[in-house]
């Protein structure tokens, strides 16, 4: 039995975990029932919405845990006259109880996910460092890679860089080069590689199909925002769209003819269609209603706090009877 502050913290953690798992299940259910229509929002709002979706389980967990634990302390409970929310043993945590097993299981899984993510980040970072050492930087910040593959991308967490291959450079005009550079620089300015890493980490707690869908939607929204940054400097949307299509054609041709990797065809994130249509559209979609969303998160936190005691009793009664 762990008592005192540590016991208090572990009880608070078990409420956070219970609430987060409940909210993740609710969000997943809402998506499977098609109750959330995030695609109707503008690119910026879609990103905000996705961040709210992946952060909300943990935010609601912290809020509900704070409510329950504060109202369970005798001083506050006596003062407020709390009758609805309480935790019987706020400063006592039994490791060999269902709380202990539940918290250990979730923390173990979280550690596994974090280690896996760190390994992937380290592996990708090493590849990117090697690419960086083999590149030739230009005065405008673009790093040129001498290869026969046509590609342009932004990569790196600590020191993100804009890479373009010599094969692509040979096949594009000065205007197209400028568009691609502006697009990649927008990714760097917006810290997209770091954001994508963090976002990916948070989505790993969701069911895989939903996590993939979240990541795909986030990538598309980030690309659309980078395209919008180019529009603000270049203005001619049709030329930007044509450049996208041209680079897409070059990359597709090489992928099919040179590398012959079918897995790319099957799993590849293909957002060119959405990007071009969004770029040329007059209406970019709605904005996220921030106030109702914040109110809903608060309501869910209160529901979680109220439900904690019920779930707690339900589990303990079922365990006691079995």
């Amino acid at each position: 039995m762990i008592t005192g502050i540590l016991g208090f913290m572990l009880n608070a953690l078990s409420i956070i975990v219970m609430s987060a798992v409940t909210i993740i299940a609710l969000i997943s259910l809402a998506f499977y029932c098609r109750a959330i229509h995030i695609h109707r929002l503008s690119a910026e709002s879609r990103q905000t919405g996705l961040w709210i979706l992946v952060f909300s389980p943990w935010l609601i967990g912290v809020l509900s845990s704070t409510m329950v634990m504060l109202l369970s302390t005798p001083e506050i409970s006596n003062f407020v006259g709390n009758q609805f929310v309480h935790w019987h043993h706020p400063t006592q945590f039994a490791v060999d109880s269902w709380h202990g097993y539940f918290v250990s299981l979730i923390l173990g899984l979280a550690l596994l996910v974090a280690l896996r993510a760190c390994f992937r980040v380290a592996r990708s970072s090493s590849t990117i460092r090697t690419l960086s050492s083999l590149s030739s930087p230009r005065p405008d910040g673009v790093r040129i890679l001498d290869t026969n593959t046509s590609a342009a991308f932004t990569a790196g967490i600590k020191d993100p860089g804009c890479y373009m291959t010599s094969a692509l450079l040979d096949q594009i005009s000065a205007e197209e080069y400028s568009i691609i550079r502006l697009h990649e620089m927008a990714h760097i300015k917006r810290n997209d590689p770091v954001k994508k890493t963090l976002f990916h980490l948070l989505t790993t707690f969701f069911p895989t199909p939903l996590a993939l869908s979240f990541n795909r939607t986030m990538t598309t929204a980030m690309e659309q925002s980078a395209d919008a940054a180019v529009v603000s400097k270049h203005h001619d949307k049709a030329t930007i769209a044509k450049t996208l299509l041209k680079v897409r054609r070059l990359a597709a041709q090489e992928t099919a003819d040179q590398f012959r990797l079918p897995q790319i065809c099957h799993y590849g994130l293909d957002n060119i269609d959405q990007r071009i249509r969004y770029l040329l559209a007059d209406k970019k979609g709605g904005e996220i209603p921030i106030l109702p969303v914040v109110a809903f998160i608060g309501l869910l936190a209160i529901c979680c706090a109220l439900g904690t005691d019920t779930i707690h009793h339900a589990v303990e009664i079922s365990l006691y009877h079995s």
Binding site: T147, A155, K196, F199, L212, R216, V247, L269, I276
Partner: protein, 130 residues
């Protein structure tokens, strides 16, 4: 792919020569940065195991050469990053200008071109009205 500093240097060396054994590589690098023959042999072995070098036994020593050209190696690296990108649906370190997917067929690409042309003509007619 994780490559150490010396591995990168040795690989770069092999892109400038047709082939060399451990002693020749050691001789080249001892002038530049020192280091023992054993370190060079270990590095060559590691690069061979990573399929970046190929080797052939001549007499009692291995003669190494680059498995791929510099251009092909860079292409492989880009592919390995983008492969991560597609196998996990997103590679979070990378934000590609366009994905390498070939999911869109020619018909869809032509439709997109038509959409762009339509947009251009619409913009033109709006401009002429004004």
């Amino acid at each position: 792919m994780i490559l150490g500093e010396l591995e990168k240097l040795v690989l770069n060396y092999f892109w400038t020569v047709s082939g060399a054994d451990a002693k020749q590589v050691h001789e080249y690098f001892s002038r530049q940065r020192g280091g023992s023959l054993n370190t060079i042999q270990t590095t060559l072995d590691r690069l061979y195991k990573k399929s970046l070098l190929k080797r052939k036994k001549i007499s009692h020593a291995f003669r190494y050469s680059a498995a791929n050209s510099r251009k092909a190696f860079i292409g492989q690296l880009i592919l390995s990053v983008t492969q991560d990108f597609v196998s996990t649906d997103e590679d979070n370190l990378l934000a590609a200008f366009v994905s390498l997917s070939t999911e869109l067929d020619d018909q869809q690409l032509r439709e997109l071109e038509a959409t762009i042309r339509e947009y251009e003509s619409r913009t033109l007619s709006q401009g002429s009205k004004q």
